[in-house]
Amino acid sequence: MSASMDSKLIPDAATHAGGAGWTALLRHPLVRPLAALALLLLIDFLLVPGFFRLEIKDGHLYGALIDIVNRAAPLMLAALGMTLVIATRGVDISVGAVVAISGAVAAILIGGKMVVVNGVPEYVSNVPMVWALAAAMGAALLCGAWNGVLVAGLGLQPIIATLILMVAGRGLAQLLTDGQIVTVYYKPFFFLGGGYLFGLPFSLYIAVGMFLLLALLMKKTALGLFIESVGINPVASRLAGIRTAALIFFVYMFCSACAGLAGLMIASNIKSADANNAGLLLELDAILAVTLGGTSLAGGKFSLVGSVIGALIIQTLTYTIYSLGVPPEVNMVVKSIVVFLVCLSQSPQFRRMLRMSKS
């Protein structure tokens, strides 16, 4: 009797557990972004010949995938910073301006003078590159501190507080570069955004390094928990003893630091600083990447992996559109439709409406 019950119970339990496992897996927040990315890659596989081909030229890996990852690196950085800001119910729309500022500072300080050494013309930087990079990051951190003070100190709405820097920041960057595109001739600087290490783009290492650092900080310390709790209920978090203002300040500093790093990468990749166009609309792409990754714009729970996947989705989408020969301007229409769909899928009201129309 008992044996038969056992034999009856066990497979039952097993199928049940298996079913629960599957639905749990399907409900996992990362499933949707991963499915979107897989779908895009499938389209590329079917329509773009040789999409997955990787070649080794001059000791580096070449191919469409490497290209996508390399170009997505600045966006990944910006999206990581933006994730934390959005998790605290904030938003930072000054990311593009910070990119322009940090790129401008680095380009001006490095510049490049031609010096003839032993009869060989060589370019040297105006100030040691380390100082130039430090200054650029310092400028970015200053921007972050400014945003942080306005949001955490004065309690301005984040979109407005960062709007100020978004408007004025690009003006400041243009002021620094005198409205010109500053070209950099100093070779070592190009490594940051265009160099290769062990066959992979160096920019990828920076982005992955930043991701790992952040993931470690969030998992191993209480920081992630605090950020989530501030996003879910700022007042309760403050009453529970979390230093809300300091945390929000930190988050904006971090976001600007990420943007500054992205700015250095972009300036290094295009070998110049373009105060007008560097990082233009990057903030929107970063917000889009965060939303695509499943982080709710209402704050609270966030997913760093999701944001990285979101950044990859956006870059793959751009690549696909370019390689299919569709005019690149269509990209904006596609992106906007994606945002609408993602937002609607996050809206409980919309889901209820769908369910009602089904039944």
Partner: protein, 348 residues
């Protein structure tokens, strides 16, 4: 002492922030007059209106959105889309100008209404919906054409070149249209049920709902009106530029928000005057004129000045609203940081 206390009392009055803007405008005009010959000539002042007529109309629509506690980031793109659609219909399909204008105005209003419906019915954030709307409208421009389309329709050219002269001065028909829109908007804000509902929703949406106000209809209408104004702005812009182009009016949404904020409307909604927006637009115009008169300052100073002004006004608004909190009795001064942290949750 009398002055201080009366100033303090004045700072609580609803018109205070708008008055500050007017005072600032006068100071800037006087500074300009002191620094540059011919700055205060009447025609220079009218040119302010001529050059910024489209911005005024766009900012009026934005005022309603901000008064209702929302934000509309799509106005610049809708403006560009209007110029593009109008140019396309006129030049390629040869529609009569009147039909073209009606079509684009309906398109703008419909675009806004659709966004408003998404914001209200699906409880999406205004910021992200209008952001997507901004992408969509800009992208649609490029779907029509990636090049600029020149308009040579006789009616549009006439609107562009007509000068309404009086007493040796002149304005363009666009200024007249913008001022009519302003007058209608002021009446809508202060003389109609719709306007009162907008203020009530901006003050507190749930209270407005409990009071039985038509929250859904009003919110959708607010965004529809903003889209309509953006389209009117687009028509004025195409009278001004005589072309349709996807790159027209980039960043105009920021100028419009800046004008509304500088005009004394509180970004949290429910507080401010549509008339203040006129002052805000004029201040932005005066900054540009000052830089043009100076000649030695480059165009990017405009951005830096606007940023600085935005900063000053946002901080001033914040201090005033904190002051209002302190004005209330029983420990609400200590609650200011709570207000501070709650304040940022409103919009984004």
């Amino acid at each position: 002492m009398m002055l201080v206390s009366s100033l303090r009392r004045a700072s609580h009055a609803p018109w205070f922030t708008s008055m500050v803007t007017v005072v600032l405008l006068v100071i800037m005009l006087l500074a300009g007059a002191a620094g540059y010959d011919g700055f205060l000539s009447p025609q220079v002042m009218l040119n302010l209106l001529i050059d910024n007529a489209f911005l005024l109309v766009v900012a009026i629509g934005m005022s309603f959105v901000i008064l209702s506690g929302g934000i509309d980031l799509s106005v610049g793109s809708v403006l560009a889309l209007t110029t593009m659609v109008a140019a396309f219909l006129l030049q390629h399909w040869h529609w009569p100008p009147l039909l073209v204008m009606v079509t684009v105005l309906l398109m703008g209003a419909g675009f806004g209404a659709a966004m408003g419906a998404m914001i209200h019915y699906f409880k999406l954030q205004a910021f992200i919906v209008t952001l997507a709307g901004m992408f969509l409208a800009r992208g649609l421009c490029y779907l029509i054409s990636i090049d600029s389309i020149t308009i040579d329709d006789p009616f549009f050219t006439a609107m562009s070149q007509t000068r309404i002269e009086f007493a040796g001065l002149f304005i363009s028909p666009s200024v007249v249209i913008a001022l009519i829109v302003l007058a209608v908007a002021i009446w809508m804000a202060h003389g109609t049920r719709f306007g009162r509902a907008v203020y009530a929703i901006g003050g507190s949406e749930s209270s407005a709902m409990l009071m039985g106000l038509p929250v859904a209809r009003t919110k959708v209408l607010v965004y529809a009106f903003s889209g309509f104004c953006a389209s009117v702005g687009g028509l004025l812009f195409s009278f001004y530029m005589l072309s349709g182009y996807g790159l027209h009016a980039q960043g105009v949404e920021l100028d419009a928000i800046a004008a509304v904020v500088i005009g004394g409307t509180l970004l949290t909604g429910g507080y401010g005057y549509v008339a203040g927006t006129l002052t805000g637009v004029l201040i932005l115009g005066v900054i540009q004129t000052l830089i043009a008169f100076d000649g030695s300052l480059s165009s990017w100073w405009t951005k830096i000045f606007i940023g600085a002004l935005l900063f000053v006004f946002c901080v001033a608004q914040r201090i005033i609203s904190l002051g209002a909190l302190r004005g209330k009795p029983a420990g609400s001064a200590k609650a200011a940081p709570v207000g501070a942290s709650a304040g940022f949750s409103k919009l984004s």
